[in-house]
Amino acid sequence: MSERFLMGNEAIALGAVHAGVNVVSGYPGTPSTEILETVAKNNKDGSVYVEWSVNEKAALEVAAGAAYSGARALVTMKQVGLNVASDPLMSLAYVGVKGGMVIVSADDPGPISSQTEQDTRHFAQFAKLPVFDPSSPEEAYEMIQDAFECSERYGTPVLFRPTTRVCHGCASVNVKDSFEPHKPEGFVKDTMRWVIFPRTSYLNHCKIEKRDPVLGDEFSGYRFNTVTGSGRIGIATHGISYAYTNDALKDCGSAYKLFKVSTPNPFPERLALGFLDGLDEVVCIEELDPVIERALTYVCGKHHLNVKIRGKLDGTVQPAGENTVESVRDVLSEYLDLKYEQADFPHPPELPVRPPVLCAGCPHRGSFYAVKQAVKGRKAVFSGDIGCYTLGNAQPLDMVDTCLCMGADVTIAQGIHRVEPDTLNFSFIGDSTFFASGITGVVNAVYNQTDIILIVLDNSTTAMTGHQPHPGTGITMMGEVSTRVSIEKILNAVGCSYVKTVDPLDLAAAQAAVKEAADMKGVRAIIMKSPCIAVTKPQQTYTVDADKCINCKKCIRELGCPAIVLTGGKTTIEPGLCFGCGVCAQVCPVKAINN
């Protein structure tokens, strides 16, 4: 063993590698992205197959096929990705696997960078799958190896659910220096096993219901499910909240029992009964849903225990958002004698707000601006999607009227069109999102003869999650160069009435294309193609000619580029920030901006 300083996601990746994982697939999504990237980085000999799949459903199915063939397979995604993968997941829970298969679904209490505060532990109950919930990077490294072992022993896929603070927290972790590779047996044909039919599903459902109490009982003895302490007050917790709780309880003056639940499904009921024995009250400290709280309430009812279960359901704990050491302290100090010092600072002066904005030089700024100018004065709705370009919603661009989930821009626009046929319905989608879940929406629009204008913001990368390759880039996670999948060819092939690729940094050309498309009917598509500034070299920077500048501030008012600033009341361009996109030079009415 050797000690390494690892991020939680790196620990999960190394744990999987040290469990002999053979196939790893996934789709990028904060806070899960670094897991797959770390496997790829530690795969110099190419012994593990690693891929970014087009979406989470594809990723899960690739991994399932590998696991059917006896390989150990890992799938990574964020929690909303699990929704996309839920169709194969629900059925796979019945069919089962041969090689160990672990699905990492990273939850995001807060939420810090997600659409929902959904809880994968709940999803595990719904799908009838075992779920592991690590409380630290060290534990995650060990636990993912246990998850593979559990999956293989019970022939079931297993969910692994870290949260943001475990994923992105770093710690000194003891890792193995060597490991045993796992040798897959290969696919063995067996219709009764691998082909899902109503009859086999009934039989498999019976097996699952029989298995769960057995597995729950085994989990009662699992080393990461623990009951410690004594007293009449109990605290039940999990994940990163376990760390917060321990911190809050430092120097606690009263007696308490502490129950840590690392496998909320199937619930370790026997261990819970031992915990509840002799208690008057239990406070459940959980993030996201009250999963442990409901389970303990059920156990108390089932066994006629007179123990009060407190938590989110009775308002003891806040219903939404992240826990912190302070929030846990506030709750527990009602029940226990907690000692802590609080610094008391006077109210601070008003501080600058720093909202995230599109980067200086971001090609999306040109795309949004071109569309905005081209349809000025016409009734238009702009449906947006998930990615950096959601930031197009900020002032002064204000070009995102709706945002729901991956791919929904294309289809929401169709629904709005059915109610407002006279409105120009634009949908904005990124290149990676187009491949992930945009194509079916476009086909839907063509088939149902909908009038929409699709703007594909093709910046040649998956920018928001840290620049992962995708089918349009032709780069794979195995370091190979594959065929670039052409967005333009796809749009032509499915029957769009108008398909044009333009450079959004050429505002005149981009606006002309939008105007042309706006006057037509059917599904019109414009690909605004220009690389993300993070994957390309800066161009020559621009400066404001102070003699020519009339200080009308049009560039500031209309573009909101972070590189354009006011210095002593004069409009100037920060040379360190300017990327040389030249959009401001095209907007300037007196040609005062030049390179």
Binding site: S136, H168, L391, T571
Partner: protein, 188 residues
């Protein structure tokens, strides 16, 4: 246990600074936990790194009122995180204000002076560092994080000595940047 909070604006180099502190602590034989801001906030937003080094660390995030030292790369960010400082804790703050990227649009007149005045009134152990002057003397804007770390090490509150910092620089930063960064340590 030493509790350290580093804060600034995306792109200022807080993450490398927290990694160097963690490296030095592990060389000493201490355990370390850190927590970083990753995601949307990196794009010109506020960033915070929590670092805890020592024995028996539970939460990777500092409880409020527990930081032995706050290393702030920007005055307003120091004030924004002041509730993390323990009674009698130390603040090292870089003098230069970073205007929000939306300042020209919103007409914000923020220049950092009010934030610095607040710190001077409310923090007894305060060092305002002219990090940009050090960067200029070293010929690189990239040494701001090392300059701030060195200033923090020199207070004795960081749990990392100046020698440990120099060792971390030599072991963790590419060779061609050693001289530059070691000079920043001396100047801080």
């Amino acid at each position: 246990m030493t509790n350290i909070l580093l804060c600034g604006v995306g792109g200022q180099g807080t993450v490398l600074a927290s990694k160097l502190i963690a490296f030095a602590a592990m060389e000493r034989g201490d355990s370390v936990r850190t927590s970083e801001t990753i995601g949307m906030s990196q794009r010109g937003g506020c960033v915070v790194s929590h670092v805890r080094a020592g024995k028996d660390i539970d939460s990777p995030m500092l409880p409020k009122g527990s930081a032995d030292i706050i290393i702030a790369f920007e005055p307003a960010e120091a004030v924004r995180n002041i509730s993390y400082l323990r009674k009698g804790g130390t603040v090292i703050v870089n003098k230069k204000a970073v205007k929000p990227v939306t300042a020209s649009l919103t007409g914000s007149s923020y220049d950092g002076s009010e934030a610095l005045a607040y710190l001077e009134q409310n923090v007894s152990r305060l060092r305002i560092l002219d990090g940009d002057d050090i960067c200029e003397k070293c010929g690189s804007t990239k040494v701001l994080n090392i300059a701030l770390l060195a200033a923090a090490a020199k207070t004795g509150e960081l749990g990392m000595t100046v020698d440990e910092l120099k060792n971390a620089i030599v072991k963790r930063i590419p060779r061609k940047f050693h001289e530059l960064n070691l000079k920043a340590v001396e100047l801080a």
